[in-house]
Symmetry: C2
Subunit: 334 residues, 2 copies
């Protein structure tokens, strides 16, 4: 098990998920010498739904996708993905190397028909207390127009099927709203989307509109999406820590106590709506099965959210629904 903190985070999160979901079974893929001690005091009722699958190595975070695939045999990531292929599990969660997860998933799980490259997607909260779907978050750092269009289709399907929005609005993330703005691949994608009647394409939007709720789906390449998401997470954490900080001098303590008290009040609880941990877990969309990427630096609460996303994706049959919709929605290539 990779990620920044490995089994010390992922094992307790898995146990928490098993406690709260009595139908869930989890297979932990990793080094048994590390995993078993972490399970030593676990209730046997939980252990009945837990299995350890041995893997002696992990994929290093500094390998490129190609290097990682070549060196993937026997790694926890590869074995976990093979378990899906073998029909032994219905979904896989990883906090490891994103490029490797993308490359190996494409190789082993295969993309859906009509999808060139899977994309990482997440749901972010906006100021209308609704949700905005954002993709790609880093699976594809350079994207041509066809890929952006496929992301738009997958994002729209997710907004309809998962969030329940009818005719979701789809926008391309750009540096201005005028037609002339942006990079060539974005302008070409806009031209295709304008001619795609099954997509409710509303045009270009800018970075600040991720939060205004002007669109239900925002599309960008993986480099921009990754930087943007991490910037948002950084901002949210900074503001929440400023609100909740207790490391203040004594003169200020009175209002901080007051503020901390206020944080228990429903009205201020709305800030917790924006806490990044509960949005951890990005769908690797466009695959034939469910693969969820957790933030590498996820804490227990955040990794638990990623497990819950995987459970939800399996229960709601996300890959099957996307596959079914893609057939009718994807523009026919001439």
């Amino acid at each position: 098990m990779g990620g920044d903190f490995g089994p010390s985070i992922t094992v307790p999160a898995a146990l928490r998920a098993l406690s709260s979901n009595l139908e869930l079974h989890i297979l932990l893929v990793g080094n048994p010498d590390i995993l078993f001690p972490l399970l030593a005091t676990t209730d046997s009722v939980l252990l009945a739904r837990l299995q350890v699958i041995p893997a002696q190595s992990v994929i290093s975070s500094n390998l490129t996708s190609a290097q990682a695939i070549r060196a993937s045999h026997g790694t926890s990531m590869r074995i976990a993905l093979e378990l899906i292929n073998d029909g032994k599990v219905q979904g896989c969660i990883s906090a490891g190397n994103t490029g490797a997860l993308m490359g190996l998933s494409k190789l082993l799980i295969k993309p859906l028909e009509g999808i060139e490259r899977p994309a990482l997607m997440t749901v972010i909260p906006n100021q209308l207390r609704q949700k905005t779907i954002l993709l790609d978050l880093g699976a594809n750092i350079a994207c041509n127009s066809a890929m952006l269009v496929q992301f738009a289709v997958m994002g729209a399907v997710m907004a309809e099927e998962i969030i329940g929005i009818i005719q979701p609005r789809v926008a391309l993330l750009n540096i201005g709203e005028e037609d002339s703005k942006g990079l060539e691949n974005i302008r070409a994608a806009a031209n295709i989307l304008k001619k795609t009647p099954t997509i409710n394409y509303i045009g270009y939007l800018e970075g600040n509109d991720l939060l205004t709720g002007k669109t239900d789906v925002m599309i960008c390449d993986g480099f921009v999406g990754n930087v943007t998401l991490k910037t948002m997470e950084g901002m949210a954490r900074m503001f929440l820590s400023l609100l909740q900080s207790s490391k203040e001098n004594k003169q200020q303590a009175w209002w901080l106590k007051l503020l901390r008290h206020c944080l228990q009040v429903p009205g201020i609880k709305r800030f917790s709506y924006f806490h990044p941990d509960q949005y951890n877990g990005a769908y690797l969309l466009g695959l034939r099965q469910t693969v969820i990427k957790s933030h590498g630096a996820a804490n227990l609460h955040a990794f638990l959210s990623a497990i819950e996303q995987a459970v939800q994706a399996v229960q709601r049959q996300v890959p099957e629904r996307i596959a079914a919709r893609l057939k009718s929605v994807l523009p026919k290539s001439d």
Copy 2:
């Protein structure tokens, strides 16, 4: 005068700047039929330091840079830049079309020796209550490695000369910290910066590190910088409006009153440190004279900040200092 709100914002901001800076002279370039009525009730003492320069047209925001340059004769933006060239003013502020401002500035004001393309730079606050310099913010949507290196040099000079940081740390914005991460132009720029002893290059950092204060200067291409900055602005505005909102139901009013009261307390005033308005005004760095780009949607307070930035740049002789430092710092091309 362009920008989203035109003279209705820029004229009152100019008058406010004249009131607070008794040495300042401002030339307003625009349609006299619109400008004079806005000055009708202005004190004659202020008017003595104000001059209206007629321009009958503005550059439309939906023109590309090339289109805008072709159609620029007689526009307020071109006339304002020509005033610099004619030695009649020492700096120019515009809330208009960014691409046009970049193109026309390059044509009329000329870049400094060793600079291929000027870049838009701003200063953002971080959680250590220090400042981080970020560029490019949208002057160059696609950048090769040489341009990124030049941005790094200019950013380092700005951090030293303007913020007063000795040996400022310089990082490249990327989607991971490992050498293998990111786009080819970024990796190539990293290789050059590693071999540039006059730059304190510290490696790649991610989006969230814009706010952690891990670096003094963060370098990226203009597309990524623009989206990132607007995302940060959107987040900051959302959190500040959640904090300050008064449109709540009556049950919540008690704590909101309390919170608003708290906002007067020095401790919570730290939130205002992050208000985007006071950071409006991006330097168009790498030109022989001072050109400042204001956010198109700037309000009075924000446009005033942009004017203050221009005054500061002129007083501190920013272009001259950069030119002097560039000669010793820029890597010699073989």
